[in-house]
């Protein structure tokens, strides 16, 4: 694949490109899902190809070819240059300088998840589902996934980066319908379970079977639980929902391409301006957010990004003040700081975009129970159910699968249909406690969308439970 990428880059330069990079990708993905003790899907998908990105007279061009052949590489390069010439740039583009890299990165693992027999994956799902069965539950499901990707990046400024990455994950859900509406409980997370860049030992460690009884009992209990009241109150949010809170209200608005408007037509822009760096009060002093493409098991962990910039760990919010952006070489050059490092493409047939890598809420101190103990009257919220945020990432509304009232520092009755809403900097300004490192968990998000044509991204967020004061909960329709 390296030779093909080199061929593509040479062809692009010969065709007039001032810069070119080529990525060859071979990806294999397996999914197993069982539902109501019936095998729903057993799929084994492979995809391969080469994508070539060029700068011609300051204009970007991108084209791809599914054939991993010399002809495919040359034709993709030629078409990328042709598209760049067809849409010329008025002002040109500068890229932040980098030191060319030679790197080879392999995900550390004990069991290659793709090599784990499909029979074993099916068996695990069926066993987990058996443990979910209760008469009042009308849908149960279990799923596992495995992915292996080999990728080579060659850039015209001399970088050659080879990656062999594996991911895997799994989860279970129980759903119940009745007078209490339609209720769902999931483990370890909602939306197709928890994934990590790791070997199959990660899935084995999830203990889907062991957690099934609690999950299914809670789904049934929610049918007769009281609805979450509509009020302004204190909330403690579990680590999983905090991961999505960080993703939506810190990750996306600090992507510098959004700030410069290039996502305005789809995902949106940002309430942050480039000049806010170092001065914007994002939240309280308890808020420390770090971007870290080196996190062990992170879905956004790599050695170099998709334009050859080294993985880094750097602060995005420090003690509540905006301290950094997620950048590309182009946006870093615009702002005159940094060198990029967050450029990632979905796969071989998409251009890299500024994406989150792994974005963490740094832990504070104490336990979740201690956070709850500090609430006289409030709500404890757990596991995401719905999510929405405006195009500048200010007004958000989230729903959780389950909640409990807090009275005098202790959990009380279970609540269903809980939602909460806020305005990003106001909400983060009300943060008055983050649980400590012992409660800090890495959550994988596998459904992050951006770009036109659309691109998915897999990112991770390390978070602990957190406490916020004076939050609107229980939004009514």
């Amino acid at each position: 694949m390296r030779a093909l990428c080199e061929t593509a880059v040479e062809a692009a330069l010969a065709a007039g490109a001032s810069y070119a990079d080529a990525r060859a990708v071979v990806r294999r993905n397996q999914q197993v899902m069982t539902k109501n003790r019936r095998v729903e899907t057993v799929t084994d998908v492979e995809s391969e190809g080469i994508g070539v990105r060029v700068l011609v007279d300051g204009a970007w061009g991108f084209a791809c070819d599914r054939r991993l052949t010399e002809q495919g590489a040359r034709e993709a390069a030629a078409r990328a240059c042709a598209f760049a010439r067809a849409a010329p740039s008025a002002d040109g583009r500068a890229l932040a300088p980098i030191t060319p890299a030679q790197a080879h990165y392999v995900t550390a693992r004990e069991r290659d998840p793709i090599e784990v027999p499909l029979e074993e994956k099916v068996g695990l799902c069926i066993a987990a589902e058996e443990a979910l069965q209760l008469p009042q539950v009308n849908v149960t499901q279990a799923s596992v996934r495995a992915q292996k990707e080999q990728k080579v990046l060659v850039t015209s400024d001399g970088s050659v980066v080879e990656h062999e990455q594996v991911e895997c994950g799994g989860g279970i859900d129980a759903m119940a319908a009745g007078d209490g509406g339609f209720q769902i409980r999931s483990y370890p997370t909602a939306h197709n379970g928890l994934s990590a860049q790791a070997g199959w030992e990660f899935v084995e460690g999830l203990d889907l079977v062991g957690h099934a009884p609690r999950v299914t009992e809670q789904a049934v209990a929610l049918l007769t639980a009281d609805p979450c009241p509509s009020e302004v109150t204190d909330v403690v949010i579990d680590a999983e929902q905090m991961a999505l809170q960080v993703h939506e209200s810190v990750g996306h608005p600090t992507e510098l391409d959004r700030i410069y408007g290039t996502e305005a037509s789809y995902a949106g822009t940002s309430f942050i301006q480039p000049g806010d760096l170092g001065s914007l009060r994002y939240g309280s002093e308890h808020m420390n957010i770090t971007s870290d493409a080196t996190t062990e098991r992170g879905l956004g962990t790599f050695s170099y990004d998709d334009e050859g910039v080294a993985a880094v760990r750097e602060p995005i919010v420090r003690e509540g003040v905006l301290a950094g952006f997620l950048t590309s070489r182009e946006t870093a050059a615009k702002i005159g700081a940094g060198a990029g490092g967050s450029m990632r493409a979905d796969t071989w047939n998409r251009m890299p975009l500024v994406r989150m890598t792994n974005l963490h809420l740094e832990p504070g101190e104490g336990t979740k129970d201690e956070l709850i103990a500090g609430v006289k009257k409030g709500v404890y919220l757990e596991t995401n159910k719905s999510w929405s945020i405006d195009d500048k990432r200010l007004n958000f509304q989230f729903g959780t699968q389950i909640a409990w009232e807090i009275r005098d520092g202790k959990l009380g009755r279970m609540l269903r249909d809980a939602t909460y809403t806020g305005i990003t900097p106001v909400f983060w300004g009300s943060l008055d406690g983050v649980a400590g490192p012992e409660e800090w968990v890495l959550h994988g998000v596998t459904n992050c969308g951006k770009g036109q044509p659309g691109q998915g991204a897999h990112v991770s967020h390390g978070t602990s439970p957190a406490r916020f004061r004076g939050v609107q909960v229980g939004i009514k329709s």
Partner: protein, 452 residues
């Protein structure tokens, strides 16, 4: 590359098995622009073969984009291995029998021939049409869907599609417009940009609105998106069987204003026509709501067999990647009303909110059809029956059945609203909808100002 021979080759590679091959080819270009120039131009050329193999009632699926003989042999091996690893599915209806798909339109030679020069030229036309900054894209593509199976299915359809969307925006103002068709010549990117810019010019100085239940006018862009999200959990048979759908237990009941009629109709040439679904079953026009009465949902063969209630496939089998979701409608259509213009709808509303488009929707409660999201790129007050001052982007949390329970009016004309964000493999779809006036649009908060 012609898709049907590839599908046949894949079946041949699976010799000895019951097998079905679905081939989707794509050749497309998307010129994405921001400000005054194209910044993400993407050319895609791909073919994906999905092979479903059945062994002793056990089903396995594999997919590849390596369509040469060795790639297809490996595909057949992996699909067979997946089937061997599975467990027999009770009630599996087997592979679909051959059926004659209806004749549909939806392919245009001129659109299929568009290359990067023409795609970039159309993007440039949108950029040049206004002095306001524009953010959006022009895209066109040709796709072919072919299916072959050992049960005797041999069918294929070539499709074209073209879409322009434009957010015209500067500091503190933004407006939106889009156009889609299977004939690129029906699209005028410059006109789309001008519509967006005109809307943007009226959004400076936007103010907040108090949370309250308002009467409202929703443009087709907003209605199309809302119906699409409502349909995810409401209009499909699997959601009905799992009691997740608002329609669960309500078939035959009047639930909406009698002006509301919703169908799924992939055969309509005004949309993005499809002849058959992802197992080769003919597409049917399916009434979902007629004159306010809930009539039914869309089915594939698997859910029909599971229901054991006389249901049959309506031609809505999903692609393999969405099998777990079950059948879903991808050609929603709402019947128009008597209003000749959106201005007439504003008069019917009298005092309320005008909504151009919606952003980042999420289903809060599928069973009750509750959806939250934001308005965007053109939200206004309606006062005295006229569109008045601009508003900031508003958070809404609505019960869609409640929103459709009292509909003062709908426009006669329908607009095709693009439904695809072009993730994964290209399969164009959209909703054909009017603008709609409602007596109940529940605003629950205010968000960001329009524009950059």
């Amino acid at each position: 590359m012609s898709a049907l021979p590839v599908a046949q080759d894949a079946i041949d590679a699976a010799a000895g098995d019951e097998a079905e091959a679905v081939v989707l080819t794509e050749r497309s270009g998307l010129a994405r622009f921001a400000g005054r120039e194209v910044h993400q131009p993407t050319l895609i050329d791909n073919v994906v073969v999905t092979l479903r193999v059945v062994r002793d009632g056990k089903v396995g699926i594999a997919a590849t984009n390596r369509v040469e003989p060795d790639g297809l042999r490996e595909l057949a091996r992996r699909a067979g291995q997946a089937a061997d690893s599975s467990v027999a599915t009770p009630g599996f209806p087997g592979l679909a029998p051959p059926a004659d798909p209806p004749d549909v339109q939806g392919w245009d030679e001129e659109t299929a021939a568009l290359g990067p020069d023409e795609q970039a030229h159309r993007a440039a036309a949108a950029i040049a049409a206004t002095t306001t900054g524009v953010y959006g894209f022009f895209t066109s593509g040709e796709t072919e869907l072919a299916i072959a199976s050992t049960a005797g299915v041999r069918t294929s359809q070539s499709m074209t599609d073209a879409t322009t969307i434009v957010v015209a925006a500067d500091r503190g103002c933004s407006g939106y417009a889009e156009a889609s068709s299977w004939r690129a010549r029906s699209l005028d990117p410059a006109a789309v940009a001008r519509e967006a810019a005109e809307k943007a010019s009226r959004t400076n100085g936007a103010a907040a609105a108090d949370p309250a239940r308002y009467r409202a006018v929703l443009e087709p862009y907003a209605i199309g998106t809302l119906l699409e999200y409502f349909g995810f959990d409401t209009f499909g048979a699997q959601a009905l069987l799992e009691e997740r759908s608002y329609f669960s237990g309500r078939i035959g009941q009047r639930a909406f204003d009698e002006k509301v009629t919703i169908v799924d109709d992939a055969l309509d040439p005004r949309g993005l026509p499809k002849a058959f679904d992802f197992e080769g079953m003919p597409k049917q026009r399916v009434p979902l709501v007629e004159d306010g009465v809930i009539r039914g949902v869309v089915w594939d063969r698997a859910t029909a067999a599971r229901a054991s209630n006389g249901a049959h496939s309506t031609g809505h089998a999903p692609p393999a990647s969405l099998l777990a979701h079950g059948p879903f409608p991808a050609a929603l259509q709402m019947t128009g009303g008597d209003a000749e213009s959106i201005e007439e709808l504003a008069e019917l509303v009298g005092d309320g909110i005008y909504v151009t488009r919606l952003h980042y929707l999420s289903v809060v409660d599928p069973r009750e059809g509750v959806i939250t999201g934001m308005t965007r790129d053109g939200t206004f007050r309606i006062r005295g029956g006229k569109v008045a001052e601009p508003l900031v982007n508003l958070r809404f949390t609505v019960s869609v059945p409640e929103l459709l329970a009292d509909v003062p009016g709908l426009t006669r004309d329908l607009t095709l609203v693009n439904g695809s964000d072009f993730y994964g493999e290209r399969y164009p779809f959209g909703a054909l909808v009017p603008a709609l006036a409602t007596a109940s649009f529940n605003v629950t908060g205010s968000g960001s100002r329009p524009g950059l």
